[in-house]
Structures are given as structure tokens and as C-alpha cells.
């Protein structure tokens, strides 16, 4: 037995409401409402959050997206700021809407959620991919640059030095990208960066004697 639920005029709910059956909102709800059944938002009611149900009847005000798998009806006096999605949508004269309105016959309950999730996901994905690529590129460079075996630790240091500016300034990204094309100049640049960046700890260099001499020659030039 499903008993009708009511949120009365003086009642405020802060949090999410979910369940089966019908829900009548006469008061205020700050949170998402997810029901299988009918949701009625009465004249003086206010909802701040997304509402999804089989049937939604709105006479009050809602700030949030609405999605109904069957009917979404905005009665006179309704004020909605948010997107509407439903198999059938009715907007009566006197109802105010600001948002995207879309009728969709097929399973609409899942779609709006997917759409809303997809939008931030896409925007989030773009920046996420870019930094990863930036990471990958410098990470790949040190590997070939590791030709002189003693230098790997330095190469790593320089690599991290490369990465940091790359992260903050996208433009320099282009110049390092050109480096791997000419491996020889890349080798020269690595030690130069080490000097400027790792001025204080030169003792690290003498630890590996044979290669160090070669490097000293480079530096001398």
C-alpha cells in the first residue's frame, strides 16, 4: 500500500527525497526529488533541485531540471528555471520557463541525467586530456635523452623542471615539443637547465666520474 506523501506549507526539507508513490510539495525542498509516481509542486511551494518522476505537476516555483517519464505539466503560476524533459510536456498560459525544453518519447528518465552528466564530463575531459598529454610528452623525452647513463637522475630532474612550466604555461609546450625532433640539441639543453636549476648541488655530478668528464667538456664549450 502506497500512502501519499505530503510536505506541508511550513515544512522545509534540506536534502534529497526519493522513493515510490506520489509526493505533494506545499512547502520548500532544497535538494533533489526522485520519485516513481506523481510529484505535485503546489502553488506556494518552492523546490531548489532536480525533480524526476513519472508525472510532474508544477504550479509553484522550481530552480532545477525537471524530467518526467510520462507527463510534465506546468500549470498557470508555475515558475521554472531549468531544463524540462519528458515524454509529454504541457506549458499552460501563465507559466514561466527559462531553460531547454525537450520532449522525448523513449525512456526519458535516464536521458536527462545522462545529458546533465555529459555536459560537465565533456568540459572536464578536455582539460583533463590536455595535461595528460603534456605529461606524457615530457616523460617520453627523458627516455631517449637518457643515452648517457650517468645522467638519468639529472634527466629526471630536468624533466620535472620541464613539466612544471609546461603545466602552467601552455605556449612553452610547443617549443619543447620541437626538441625531440632534434635529439642532439636536446642533449645540450638538458645540462644547461640543470646548471641553472640545480646550481647548489653540483657534488651530485662527480659521483659518476667517467661520464662527468664528458659533461665537463660540454660545459667548457
Amino acid at each position: 500500500m502506497r500512502s501519499p506523501s505530503t510536505i506541508s506549507a511550513t515544512t522545509v526539507v534540506r536534502g534529497n527525497i526519493g522513493g515510490d508513490g506520489s509526493l505533494e510539495i506545499l512547502g520548500r525542498v532544497e535538494g533533489d526529488v526522485t520519485m516513481t509516481g506523481q510529484v505535485v509542486v503546489a502553488a506556494d511551494a518552492a523546490v531548489r533541485g532536480n525533480v524526476s518522476a513519472t508525472e510532474i505537476q508544477v504550479t509553484g516555483s522550481i530552480a532545477g531540471n525537471l524530467s518526467a517519464s510520462d507527463i510534465l505539466m506546468l500549470n498557470p503560476g508555475a515558475r521554472v528555471v531549468g531544463d524540462l524533459a519528458g515524454a509529454r510536456i504541457g506549458i499552460a498560459e501563465g507559466a514561466l520557463v527559462r531553460g531547454l525544453v525537450r520532449t522525448e518519447g523513449e525512456p526519458p528518465l535516464a536521458k536527462p541525467a545522462g545529458v546533465s552528466a555529459a555536459r560537465p564530463a565533456v568540459t572536464a575531459a578536455k582539460p583533463a586530456v590536455a595535461p595528460r598529454a603534456a605529461f606524457a610528452a615530457p616523460a617520453a623525452r627523458p627516455a631517449p635523452a637518457a643515452l648517457p647513463r650517468p645522467s638519468p637522475p639529472k634527466a629526471n630532474l630536468s624533466a620535472t623542471a620541464h613539466e612544471r612550466p609546461v603545466m602552467h604555461e601552455p605556449p612553452p609546450d610547443s617549443s619543447p615539443v620541437s626538441e625531440p625532433e632534434h635529439p642532439a640539441p636536446a642533449r645540450h639543453e638538458m645540462p644547461k637547465l640543470e646548471r641553472s636549476a640545480d646550481g647548489p648541488p653540483p657534488p651530485v655530478v662527480p659521483s659518476i666520474k667517467g661520464q662527468v668528464k664528458a659533461k665537463k667538456k660540454f660545459r667548457g664549450r
Partner: protein, 104 residues
């Protein structure tokens, strides 16, 4: 005016405040307060601190309870938490675990 009714199939996670009678048949987690009566019916699950003028419990409540007037723990009711109220009745068949503070 029936006030607020949280039906059997309904779950609220968050804060409920009201100036009218609140009847809980479903599930509430968070906090629940009313300046009027709160009834927690049989089958209801409340995991929240409850504040009301008068409270009757026939369902399961986990949380501290404060009532300005009275608390009635009815047969079949289950209350785990401290009670602060001017008056308290515990019916035969109710379960209760907690401290009572009756403002003596």
C-alpha cells in the same frame, strides 16, 4: 490540514523542519524537527535527532530525542538514544535504550 506526511515508500536524507504536524511512515536520515507534533508510525525508520513539541514513536528511532511537552513510546516502538522531555511514557512492548532527562 494533515501537515507533512512522509509515506512508507519515501526516503529523505537531510534536514526536515516544520511548524506543523509531521507524520513519518517512511525513512528519514539526518535531522527532524517540528514545533508541533511528530508521529513516527509503525514501520518507519528514523535515523535522526528529533525535536518536537510532542512526539509519539511506534516505529524505530535511532538518535537523540527532545520534546518540549511529551514523548510517548508506544508498544512495538523502538528508541535508541537519549530522551529529554518534560513527560515520558513507555508502553509495554516498547524497546528503549538510552538516558532520560526529565528536567526535574
Amino acid at each position: 490540514m494533515a501537515g507533512t506526511v512522509i509515506g512508507e515508500e519515501l526516503t529523505i536524507e537531510g534536514e526536515i523542519t516544520s511548524d506543523e504536524e509531521v507524520v513519518i511512515q517512511g525513512t528519514v536520515r539526518g535531522s527532524l524537527s517540528s514545533t508541533d507534533t511528530i508521529q513516527i508510525l509503525s514501520g518507519a525508520v528514523v535515523e535522526a535527532d528529533v525535536t518536537a513539541a510532542s512526539l509519539s514513536v511506534a516505529g524505530a528511532v535511532t538518535g537523540n530525542v527532545t520534546a518540549t511537552d511529551r514523548v510517548d513510546l508506544q508498544a512495538g516502538g523502538r528508541l535508541i538514544g537519549d530522551v529529554r522531555s518534560a513527560r515520558l511514557t513507555i508502553a509495554d512492548g516498547a524497546s528503549f535504550k538510552g538516558n532520560v532527562d526529565m528536567d526535574v
